[in-house]
């Protein structure tokens, strides 16, 4: 019962964050890019609840707008990696044999290369905008999903109802879709949640390094990029609030994921 309540709490917290960022246009007290050179680095006050940054922009407004960008990039990339992961893992798991061995060896090799390195090197050449980033994070984030889908397919393939369906001559696509994929949904859901947290981390890290989202667009990572200089002159509010938002978002996702995890399926990473 206690964990039920906790789950509800984390879901509503995440819902609140999503709500605040999606409706940032209406909720933000200022325009996120509105500059006011007379009012730079002002500490939180009744006028600017969370203070202003080095160009006199309202931190609260940028926080809400930036959240929209960060969450949009994360969602887009998660959907992309979900699709790739299901297709790759599905093929590997369903066909088995040599195909499976080769595909899994390749996956094992790819998983050893830090995703950040791959994204960094591509960013150096294409220097993409927001959607370029989404694409890159999505293209590097499907490996664990593929692994989970594969192991689910292998497990389900041996179940009696699938064998039965095969015997009755059910079309292959129906088995793949109706029997294998739909029964893997709980496992896929959990890994996708954790993937979402990972994608937020990735966007934030890259923008923080100054090679992610273009600086003109506010995002939580971009705000922290400027914050590392602002902190040296004591403007703590610019760094504190985006970080708290990232922390709360990832924290609620992690707790929701933990609660959803089947106790028997102890490790999602396997």
């Amino acid at each position: 019962m206690k964990s039920r309540k906790a789950l509800l709490f984390w879901c509503s917290l995440l819902g609140l964050i999503v709500f605040l960022t999606v409706f940032s246009n209406m909720l933000a007290p200022f325009s996120p890019n509105e500059m006011n050179m007379d009012d730079v680095y002002s500490a939180p006050s009744s006028d600017h609840w969370l203070g202003t940054d080095h160009l006199g922009r309202d931190v609260l407004s940028r926080l809400l707008e930036g959240g929209k960008v960060t969450l949009a990039v994360a969602s887009g990339s998660v959907i992309l990696s979900l699709i790739i992961g299901i297709v790759y893992g599905g093929i590997s798991g369903y066909f088995g044999g040599l195909t499976d061995t080769v595909m899994m060896r390749l996956l094992e090799a790819l998983i050893t290369i830090p995703a950040l390195i791959i994204i960094l090197s591509f960013q150096a050449i294409i220097q993409g905008g927001m959607w370029g980033m989404t694409l890159l994070i999505g293209l590097t984030g499907w490996l664990v999903t593929a692994r989970i889908v594969r192991s689910e397919f292998i497990r389900l393939k041996e179940e009696e109802f699938v064998k039965m369906a095969n015997m009755f001559g059910t079309p292959v696509w129906k088995i793949l879709w109706g029997h294998l994929l739909q029964n893997s949904i709980p496992a896929i859901f959990v890994v996708t949640l954790f993937n979402f947290a990972g994608a937020i981390f990735m966007e934030v890290s890259l923008s923080f390094l100054g090679i992610g989202i273009p600086p003109a667009i506010p995002s939580w990572g971009n705000m922290l990029y400027y914050a590392q200089n602002d902190i040296l002159i004591g403007a703590w509010w610019i760094a504190l609030f985006p970080g708290i938002m990232i922390f709360l978002t990832i924290l609620s996702i992690n707790f929701i994921g933990e609660a959803w995890k089947n106790p028997k399926r102890r490790r999602v990473n396997d």
Binding site: A115, L120, L224
Partner: protein, 322 residues
């Protein structure tokens, strides 16, 4: 038996390095300008015609891409990583200057993470249902949700700006004025940021596998036979540490990713900061070199973890599947 196993691991490592080298080579191809210019960057204009000829021949630039790749790989294996287009020095020289710092940061953080997580994980795992047990689960989820670099910014604010007791950036110099103390004071913040954000999640993994091991039949029998608690713990921890090591191996790549960001934040002059610098200044030869070196570091680390696992797991020594 061991030679066969080592061989298998080596092949895997070589495959990984091949993929990394494709990535590297792709960068050279995709970089603006012709590959010779990309390789020598800003110095390309100063090259004489004869030198250009020599580069073209050495890297087979007048032949198909596949042959170019082989030629480039040959040069790379020989240790010739090209010349930095911004600094005008050989890439391998720059990397060798940076490598000790990265290794220092990595080994110090990994040492404390492993010691800390084994201690926390054992205490929490052996007392199921206690405050330690529940507390660690929450602690690990909470700490792993903190972006390491954000924690770093807060640390800089508290320890460097407000209190002024630790330097906010740089990596210190043993031969400089401060000596070893200077190096350590520069190391404290980046290392502790990495330790705090990682120790919980590793401890939790060990805790869970200890709990599973603890409920096994053989442990129950040992308890019933009056085997002392300390030797039960020894056995349980030993057996639980194999999945734990496997988990470490699995997360090493993302750990390297995380340390890239922390290195940049604290201007710790290691490979990670070098990589980011190469990206922002579009220094492609340097970028290629640092990617290759990071790949090699990951492969070597994984190999060491695998060797430890092999030494600890009798099932693997007898040739069982992992």
């Amino acid at each position: 038996m061991i030679s066969k196993w080592v061989g298998k691991r080596m092949v895997m490592g070589i495959v990984v390095l091949f993929i990394v080298s494709f990535l590297s080579f792709f960068i050279m191809q995709a970089a603006p300008g012709d590959p010779a210019a990309a390789f020598y960057g800003g110095n390309a204009q100063t090259l004489t015609a004869a030198e250009k000829e020599r580069i073209t021949r050495a890297y087979a630039l007048d032949r198909p891409v596949a042959q170019q790749y082989i030629a480039w790989l040959g040069e790379t294996v020989k240790g010739n990583l090209g010349t930095s287009s911004k600094e005008g020095r050989p890439v391998s020289e720059i990397i060798m200057e940076r490598l000790p710092n990265t290794l220092l940061l990595f080994s110090v953080t990994m040492f404390f993470i492993i010691i800390g997580s084994i201690w926390l994980g054992t205490v929490a795992g052996m007392r199921e249902g206690s405050i330690w047990d529940k507390g660690l689960s929450t602690f690990s989820i909470a700490t792993s949700s903190i972006p390491a670099f954000w924690l770093g910014i807060l640390f800089i604010y508290f320890f460097a700006v407000s209190l002024g007791i630790l330097p906010s950036s740089g990596s210190g110099d043993v031969e400089g004025n401060g000596g070893v103390i200077d190096k350590i004071s520069h190391l404290i913040m980046p290392a502790s940021v990495l330790i705090v954000t990682h120790v919980g999640i590793y401890a939790r993994f060990l805790q869970e596998s200890i709990k599973i091991e603890n409920s096994q039949y053989y442990v129950k029998v040992a308890r019933a036979n009056g085997v002392t608690e300390s030797s039960i713990r020894k056995g349980v921890v030993r057996n639980a540490s194999i999945p734990y090591l496997n988990y470490i191996a699995m997360t090493i790549p993302s750990f390297f990713g995380g340390s890239i960001i922390v290195e940049s934040l604290f201007a710790w002059s290691g490979i990670g900061q070098l990589t980011v610098k190469a990206v922002t200044t579009k220094d492609f030869p340097l970028l290629m070199g640092s990617i290759m070196v990071t790949g090699i570091l990951v492969v070597i680390t994984l190999f060491i973890v695998d060797l430890i696992m092999y030494a600890m797991d009798p099932k693997m020594r007898k040739g069982g599947a992992r």
